[in-house]
């Protein structure tokens, strides 16, 4: 940094001399930045991102409400898994789906089932049967280069699983590593081992060629607390495994991934097996036009579950997807960019237990066709993004979602005004279990406004307000037990939230702090989906937070050693935590909590070796994870204080 500043000063001094000596080389002028030097914070803010646009724009101008967390920040927090990272992001929280499976909520809405798209190295983790993403001790958090999060709708770009948000995880092996890195971590409660995870990454890259391979395996528990007569540390597990291979030769890129995740409650086990393959070619037809054909094939056995004691399977179904896509990106001029594409995919499910569960058949097929387009105009006064997606299925009504965004950074100030429609495409099981025989895509209208101001190069304050309304919500219901058990999906009427999110970032030499506050309020009215209503309030849905405060900070003690405290305050929640004698759920208030964590990290303890030690939930607050709807499941007891040890070693290849 110092060297760069010095070089810049020298360049300007050299340029000053010609006015007396007239020996100036004009060329050197062309390399000077038109802006004053970037601070560390500005470097992060000015990095281009394509998560919400086809052409890279800076975080302050990209047409979405975005959070980005770098590997440095993730490593400093000592995050144990993805849930620790997401809890630090405004609007996000974790709750229980059922059977102790954990999922995400966003902006006060339960978002686990197809409302937030989770991708790792471009591969979608929303499984094909229900579109859920199980989180917990699952993702290789120490292998992450960067997480880009859209805290708002992404359907116009990403389709029917990104109605409320997008989490885009990019691993080091796929992005930046040119060498070998091995990492491991352990988490220890007073009376149980919380987790032991380890991974190995290898990557070799040059301009025209890149190969990466990584493996991640772990073993963990869902909680270390008691539940009925069970010690959960003995009867639950949360065990991930991920194999990830990528190859790029010129414009041709291939990625294959195999992911396994096994978790359980005291009575049942649940496993997810997912295979992904993705082949794409970026053909630069001209300096302005790129054409990108893509082929993808996914093969999954998600939500396979059965009796923990006997091992007898209750549900086992295979789901596959064949996906083909053709996309074109055209730079009409330096300031106008368009991209458009067409895609077709076919999902097929096969009941492996041969119980003819698919409407009396053993298999089920779903075909989708979509067209999408986006245009970006960079004007002096604003950047305008206009886009849409139209998706048609053989199983449900078509969905059309337009998008319009205006953004601009003007010196220290920036604004974003965003309007987007978004949709949730019914998945295989939504259609298969449709109560009335038919089901529609659910649709959302989302308005977002953000204003930000940089008081100093090291400081940014950004505030956004949003209004999110969803209609025709795909809602799960069930009744009865044993042979009487019936489950279904139906389109409920309306729900949504309004809220604000505030972010204050400060990054000085030697320390940084990121503070955030998020507030959401449920829209009222009689139309709200019953399963999300609690009797205590109409302002919050079941299990959702209304207020959240986070503080994530880092202080360098020496060049390599840093002290990193982080805090998460969650306000009151209301959830169904017990049942009465008739089996009817009783909602109770869950106390607010403060998660205080600290991690001490030592980079390059020896060349390439990084070690860290930390404590999660120092105050032993143990916030429980309630079910996010009135579904008859008791909350997952919160884990107790966890001591975390991390170790990693990286060897870079010579360039």
């Amino acid at each position: 940094m110092m060297l760069k500043k010095f070089a810049g000063t020298c360049a300007i001094l050299l340029l000053l001399t010609p006015f007396t000596s007239f020996s100036q080389d004009l060329d050197s002028l062309l390399n000077l930045s038109a802006f004053t030097a970037e601070s560390e914070l500005q470097k992060a803010l000015n990095k281009g991102t394509t998560v919400s646009s086809s052409k890279a724009l800076t975080l302050r101008e990209t047409p979405g409400i975005i959070s980005v967390m770098s590997s440095e920040e993730i490593q400093n927090t000592g995050a144990r898994d993805l849930t620790d990272v997401l809890r630090l992001i405004p609007g996000f929280d974790i709750a229980q789906d059922l059977q102790f499976v954990q999922g995400v909520s966003l902006r006060g809405n339960w978002s686990n089932e197809g409302k937030v798209l989770v991708m790792m190295d471009g591969q979608p983790f929303n499984e094909l049967l229900y579109q859920t993403v199980a989180v917990g001790n699952r993702f290789p958090v120490d292998a992450i280069e960067r997480i880009e999060i859209i805290r708002g709708p992404g359907s116009a770009i990403y389709g029917g699983s990104a109605e409320y948000g997008v989490i885009n995880i990019i691993t080091k092996a796929a992005e930046s590593l040119n060498g070998v890195e091995v990492y491991g971590m352990g988490g220890f409660h007073a009376g149980a081992v919380g987790r032991t995870n380890a991974g190995l990454m290898f990557a070799k890259r040059s301009d025209k060629f890149a190969f990466d391979a990584s493996v991640f395996k772990g073993k963990g528990i869902v909680s270390d607390q008691a539940f009925d007569e069970f010690a959960l540390s003995e009867v639950t597990n949360s065990d991930p495994m991920n194999l990830n291979v990528g190859l790029r030769v010129g414009g041709l890129a291939f990625r294959a991934m195999y992911d396994e995740y096994e978790t359980s409650d005291p009575y049942q086990f649940i496993t997810y097996n997912n295979f992904y393959s993705d082949l794409r070619y970026t053909w630069k037809a001209s300096s302005k036009l790129s054409i990108i054909p893509q082929l993808k094939y996914y093969n999954q056995v998600p939500w396979r579950w059965g009796d923990a004691e006997s091992g007898e399977l209750e549900f086992e179904s295979r789901a596959t997807r064949m996906h083909s896509q053709l996309e074109a990106v055209y730079d009409i001029s330096r300031k106008v960019n368009v991209n458009a594409g067409i895609l077709y995919f076919s999902d097929q499910a096969t009941d492996l237990l041969e119980s003819d569960m698919y409407q009396g058949e053993n298999t089920f097929e779903l075909n989708n066709f979509a067209v999408f387009a986006q245009g970006l105009i960079k004007h002096r006064l604003f950047n305008a993004t206009v886009g849409f997606r139209y998706e048609k299925s053989n199983r449900y009504d078509a969905a059309f979602v337009p998008r319009l965004a205006f953004t601009k950074k003007i010196e220290n100030f920036h604004f974003k005004a965003l309007y987007s429609q978004a949709f949730r495409a019914p998945s295989i099981q939504n259609i298969n279990l449709a109560r009335t025989g038919t089901i529609k895509p659910e649709k959302s209208n989302v308005f977002e406004f953000e204003f930000g101001y940089q008081f100093t190069p090291e400081m940014l304050l950004a505030v956004n307000a949003y209004s999110l309304t969803t209609r025709d919500i795909l809602t799960y219901g069930s009744e009865g037990e044993g042979s009487e058990f019936v489950e279904w999906y139906e389109n409920a009427t309306k729900m949504g939230t309004r809220g604000i999110e505030l972010i204050y970032n400060i990054r000085q030499k030697g320390w940084y702090a990121n503070f955030s506050y998020s507030f959401s309020q449920a829209i009222g009215g009689d139309e709200t989906v019953e399963t999300y209503i609690v009797p205590q309030t109409t302002k919050q849905y079941t299990g959702m937070l209304a207020h959240k405060l986070t503080l994530n900070s880092s202080f360098a003690i020496t060049k390599g050693l840093s002290f990193n405290p982080s805090f998460i305050y969650g306000g009151k929640r209301y959830a169904f935590t017990e049942v009465d004698a008739d089996g009817v759920g009783i909602a109770n208030e869950l106390d607010s909590y403060l998660l205080a964590n600290v991690f001490v990290n030592y980079r390059n303890l020896l060349p390439g070796l990084t070690a860290g030690l930390g404590v999660y939930d120092i105050l032993d607050a143990q916030p429980e994870l309630p079910q996010a709807y009135n579904g008859g499941y008791m909350p997952i007891p919160g884990r107790s204080r966890e001591y975390v040890v991390k170790l990693s070693y990286k060897l870079d290849f010579k360039k």
Binding site: F19, L26, S33, F35, Q42
Partner: protein, 167 residues
């Protein structure tokens, strides 16, 4: 009261130091454009006028104190009215005053006055030069050679070769 004053001072200086347009670089471009251009007549003083309130005036003043261009001492001034342009060699049109371009072009017609506009694209509307920002945040310029020729101002090949576009 003292506290308030101190706080407002901190905020003002903070605002001033956030990442903003670096007019030092714009100034260097203007001075090099001057150096590599030829005017039909030459006074002892080379006069650069900044039209509109802009940090450009401060930067140009700082850079040119005690310096000269092709043997001529440099004078920099800041004006708000077209009538004050006088016999300037260069009028630098600040972004906020871009709407005055037509008026400036008309008022200086037939005179050897080079108009350099800060705002992109104004070279197509009669300015001799206008700046543009590249993808990697460096500065370039476009040239309207026809407009300059009408004013009997010649730009060197070096200058034209490095332009983003020339019309």
């Amino acid at each position: 009261m003292k506290k308030v004053l101190i706080l407002s001072f901190v905020l003002v200086s903070a605002v001033a130091s956030a990442q903003t347009t670096n007019y030092q670089v714009h100034s260097l471009f203007v001075l090099n454009i001057a150096k590599y251009s030829e005017w039909p007549t030459a006074d002892a003083e080379f006069h650069i006028v900044v039209f509109g309130k802009s940090k450009m005036y401060d930067e140009l003043t700082k850079l040119t104190t005690g310096k000269n261009i092709n043997g001529h001492t440099i004078k920099v001034s800041q004006i708000e009215n077209v009538t004050d342009i006088g016999n300037a060699n260069i009028v630098f049109l600040a972004d906020g005053k871009s709407g005055n371009l037509d008026e400036i072009v008309k008022a200086t017609e037939g005179k050897s006055i080079m108009v350099i506009a800060e705002r992109e694209g104004l070279f197509k509307k009669g300015a001799g030069f206008s700046f543009m920002l590249t993808e990697n945040n460096t500065l370039r310029y476009d040239i309207n050679n026809a407009a300059l020729a009408k004013r009997n101002i010649k730009v060197s090949k070096n200058l034209a070769n490095l332009a983003n576009s020339v019309i």
